[in-house]
């Protein structure tokens, strides 16, 4: 004990001596304080010397020292803190302090970060800086602060797989370099996400942005009892994808009791449609003894252009405009199906399906063919007793709670406004406002991914249903959502690239009515409105000869053997076909040329022979087109065996000179064919007027 006290005293004495040594008199004190001040002053530059970015810059200099291009790289290297400052965009990015070789294309062989050059993109680095696309904290000067999410900065670097989302902050025009973003935006519309969620796109056209419109066309349920049975509704509600793998309706993960009550309510609210659906099932249609006849008619009508169905091997083939038909016989009532095939517009005025003019025999054949597409397993285990009043009322409550009316029209239920959170600025949503499910990494993209994939992991009370999506679809959706940022909403107007404005073009008169009845716009586009499955018809009148068009409308034959989707036969009357032909020939004329300007009589046999040589040797057109079916084999472009009957000479001439000027979406390359060559080729092609005898069948 005494020893310890002695030691403390000794220590005190030593300290006192030291104090006297340093600050004993005023001179000593001055000297010592000056020294301490000097040391303190030296700390600041020393601290700077040990900064991360200085170490990285000297690493870079070491890295380039022995390279062949060292002299150039060293000359271009700028030490010290670097920054891209763009006041207009609010960008202060110091990333180039460490990423020193971003502009050095000759460093392409270096795979070590942060010294890789920036990959080729359509914008310059000085135009937008770094953070605009990559996120992160641009003004930070440490690696951790710049890249990762810290408490003061919630925007970590965007994972590479979502980078395309940044393009979407300015671009609404679906550029070809951002397939994932474009796909995601299409999915938001086609899966009906925007039926429940409001999503304003910064279109640049309207100041507040335009609301994204859904394209999924969910059916009205107001007359559902006439279309299908309660058992089918129950099985569908339980698992839509068990009925059709391609169904976009999500799985609400309903209990048996809930599905029972909703199906009871839906049947209860359904009203009769009137005389359109006659309770008269077809009594053995003529030709029903031939089981192949229905399938042939299904094929000839090109139903598969829009509807998919599983073939015998279980592979889904066909278009995605209409619903999948693999098990349609288990769904629809025979009398409804017959009425639908007779005239779908009586049952759903907004459907994309054309009004085929089937006769009674065809109707019977097609209906019995479709009814035979059943799956007895789908409703096998569904046994529902008659619904009670309480069940129906509970069903109504559930329909309200689940927001069914956001997509479907239902009697007695109002479409809810803003049923789900608005997504306009979801890409900038503060993390502090998000409740993360356990196990989800703390960043926005992981949250969105988990929310789309497993909405119920965020709580069983969550109303969002579970969609059946592939990984790539989820990635695309997250990309599209991450594009909805605050930055995107405030970007200067001149940087915005607006989407293609939607046209509401409507052809006039009785021909317009007929085109509406045939739903031409479901596949063809005219004056900016319509689908992209079939050729644009804006200048069709300048392109074809009247007699050919009339024949074609009555009996469309195949122009492109390689295509699976084709123009169906609508069974038009002569008067209808003539009216439509006249309208197309008169109205859909291009202002670029007069279609009668190159009469066939102006071509000589010499022109034709010259054209033949050009066709086969100089331009090798036979690679893609067939003129002589015995020798030519190409089938990317349309078959040209009777092109002289189909096309006008003026169209062929101008089309050869610049195909994209007349058909912007065509694949035919613009080969800058001279006027002389184009004229000779036109002469040769206009001579192709006789269909040679058919060869065995297509390859």
């Amino acid at each position: 004990m005494g020893l310890a006290v002695e030691r403390v005293r000794e220590m005190g004495r030593k300290l006192a001596a030291l104090y006297r040594f340093l600050f004993g008199d005023s001179v000593r004190a001055f000297g010592s304080l000056s020294l301490i001040l000097l040391v303190l002053l030296a700390v600041v530059p020393a601290k700077d010397y040990f900064r991360e970015w200085i170490r990285i810059q000297s690493q870079y200099l070491k890295l380039i020292r022995n390279r062949g291009d060292a002299a150039t790289l060293q000359r271009r290297f700028q030490g010290g803190l670097q920054q891209v400052w763009l006041p207009r965009l609010g960008v202060v990015d110091r990333c180039t302090t460490c990423h020193v070789a971003l502009r050095e294309a000759s460093m392409a062989d270096v795979s070590l970060q942060p010294f890789r050059p920036h990959p080729v993109i359509p914008h310059s680095l000085d135009q937008f800086g770094c953070v605009f696309c990559h996120r992160g904290q641009g003004a930070a000067t440490t690696v951790e602060e710049a890249h990762s999410s810290t408490k003061a900065w919630e925007q970590p670097l965007l994972p590479a797989r979502y980078l395309e989302s940044s393009c979407g902050q300015c671009h609404q025009d679906a550029p070809p370099g951002t397939p994932q973003l474009n796909r995601g935006r299409k999915l938001l519309a086609s899966y009906g996400c925007v039926n429940c969620h409001t999503l304003l796109t910064s279109s640049g056209l309207s100041p507040g942005g335009a609301r994204m419109k859904a394209t999924d066309d969910p059916p009205e349920l107001t007359h559902i009892a006439q279309k299908t049975t309660r058992e089918w509704i129950f099985a569908w509600l339980k698992n839509p994808q068990a009925y059709a793998g391609s169904a976009t309706m999500p799985n609400f993960e309903l209990s048996d009791a809930d599905a029972r009550d909703i199906s009871a309510f839906l049947i209860d609210q359904s009203t009769p449609l009137g005389p359109a659906v006659e309770a008269k099932p077809p009594s053995s249609p003529p030709g029903a003894d031939d089981p192949q006849a229905g399938a042939t008619l299904y094929g000839e009508s090109f139903c598969a252009s829009c509807h998919a169905a599983q073939n015998a091997a279980g592979i889904l083939t066909g278009g995605d405009v209409g619903p999948e038909l693999t098990r349609v016989g288990s769904k629809v009532r025979p009398e409804w199906l017959l009425a639908w095939l007779r005239d779908p517009h009586q049952l759903d005025p907004n459907t994309a399906m054309p009004h085929y003019r089937f006769n009674d025999k065809q109707l019977g054949l097609l209906a019995s063919f479709l009814e035979s597409k059943t799956d007895s397993d789908f409703t096998a285990n569904v046994h529902l007793e008659a619904a009670t009043k309480e069940q129906i009322e509970h069903g109504r409550t559930l329909v309200n709670e689940r927001g069914c009316a956001s997509c479907h029209q239902i009697n007695g239920i109002k479409r809810p406004d803003n049923f789900a959170p608005e997504l306009t600025a979801v890409g900038s949503r503060p993390l502090a406002k998000i409740v993360f499910a356990p196990g989800v990494p703390y960043d926005l993209s992981s949250y969105l991914e988990a929310k789309i994939r497993e909405p119920h992991s965020f709580g069983t009370a969550m109303k969002m249903p579970k969609f059946t999506l592939a990984t790539s679809q989820v990635e695309a959706l997250v990309t599209a959502l991450l594009a909805q940022t605050d930055r995107g909403a405030t970007v200067p107007a001149d940087l915005r690239v607006a989407g293609h404005p939607e046209s509401d073009y409507q052809p006039a008169g009785s021909a317009g009515k007929l085109m509406d009845d045939l739903r031409c716009f479901s596949c063809h586009s005219i004056n900016g409105r319509g689908g992209d499955m079939a050729p644009d018809l804006t200048s069709e009148g300048s392109s074809v000869q009247r007699s050919w068009l009339l024949d074609f409308l009555k009996n469309p034959n195949t122009l492109r053997p390689a295509l699976i989707r084709r123009m169906p036969r609508f069974n038009l009357t002569d008067a209808e076909a003539a009216a439509l032909t006249d309208y197309i020939m008169t109205v859909y004329q291009t202002p670029a040329f007069d279609s009668a300007s190159l009469p066939a009589s102006s071509f000589t046999a010499e022109d034709r022979e010259h054209g033949r040589q050009l066709f086969y040797s100089k331009y090798a057109c036979q690679s893609c087109h067939i003129v002589d079916p015995n020798n030519d084999k190409g089938y990317i472009g349309p078959t040209l065996t009777v092109v002289g009957v189909r096309r006008t000479a003026a169209w062929i001439f101008h089309y050869l000179k610049d195909p994209q000027a007349l058909r912007p979406a065509t694949l035919e390359p613009n080969q800058h064919i001279s006027g002389e060559d184009a004229r000779a080729l036109t002469a040769f092609l206009m001579a192709q007027t006789k269909a040679p005898p058919q060869q065995g069948g297509k390859k």
């Binding site: 062989d109 993109i121 590479a160 797989r161 980078l163 070809p176 990635e475 040797s617 090798a620 390359p669």
Partner: protein
């Protein structure tokens, strides 16, 4: 002697701390124990897929462990290793009844080729390895792929799909598939761009290759060349700097 013990102890403490899964969470599960050993490791599918940087490949990587007679071995342990941010899920596992193990692969975040090493051990404890490669496409290569799918693949890809019939068989002079590195790697960027721009005839190739200079922009054609370089097999290696002789 004492120092060595200390360093062993330190290593024992440090090593488990370093063993983390790529997403930063501690790997709680111990590696599975092999129940059987094979003699060979073969690729069954999933190699050389091209996808955007950072995305998950459409097809899983499938490898099969065979014994000396070439029949599949069930329960053999296969471990996968990949550089950088490439993530394989699971990164190791036992082969199934068919002797196969399939893993999903998420590519790294910069464009280029990623090598993946699959390894198993044979009875004597010797390691048997298999190298796989996957292709990550950057912005430019991705754009090139879009253009290739639209304009080129109908002739340059001999495979037909349900939606697209190949025109390859109909051409007198067969075009090169874009993966044909053996030939295409020997053609310079300038020549590839020129053939695309001016047509095959302009470079003494077949006139069946039309000129795309009027349809595609210079940027588009550069993107196409970048795509062709990215998918070439054997891989294309850009010629570095050409030094002056001293």
């Amino acid at each position: 002697m004492r120092g060595r013990w200390l360093s062993f102890a330190a290593l024992a403490l440090v090593l488990p701390a370093c063993h983390r899964t790529p997403d930063g969470k501690l790997d709680g599960k111990a590696t599975a124990q092999p129940k059987a050993f094979g003699a060979g490791l073969v690729e069954m599918g999933g190699g050389l897929q091209a996808a955007s940087v950072g995305t998950v490949l459409d097809q899983p990587l499938v490898v099969q462990v065979n014994d000396a007679q070439g029949s599949p071995v069930k329960g053999a342990l296969v471990t996968f290793r990949a550089a950088g941010e490439t993530i394989l899920t699971p990164s190791s596992g036992l082969t199934g009844d068919d002797g196969q193990l399939s893993v999903t692969c998420q590519l790294g975040s910069s464009a280029g080729r990623y090598q993946i090493l699959a390894a198993t051990t044979d009875k004597s404890g010797k390691s048997v390895t298999l190298r796989l490669e996957e292709i990550a496409l950057g912005y430019q290569q991705n754009l090139g792929r879009q253009l290739s799918d639209r304009y080129c693949s109908r002739c340059h890809d001999p495979e037909s799909s349900a939606e697209r019939v190949s025109n390859y068989d109909n051409l007198t002079v067969k075009p090169h598939t874009f993966t044909d590195g053996a030939f295409l790697n020997s053609v310079s960027d300038t020549d590839l761009a020129a053939i695309t721009t001016y047509g095959g005839a302009a470079r003494s190739k077949s006139a069946e290759m039309p000129s795309y200079g009027g349809t595609l922009s210079k940027t588009d054609i550069e993107a196409l060349v970048a795509y062709i370089r990215a998918v070439a097999s054997p891989p294309y290696r850009a010629r570095g700097l050409i030094y002056a002789s001293e």
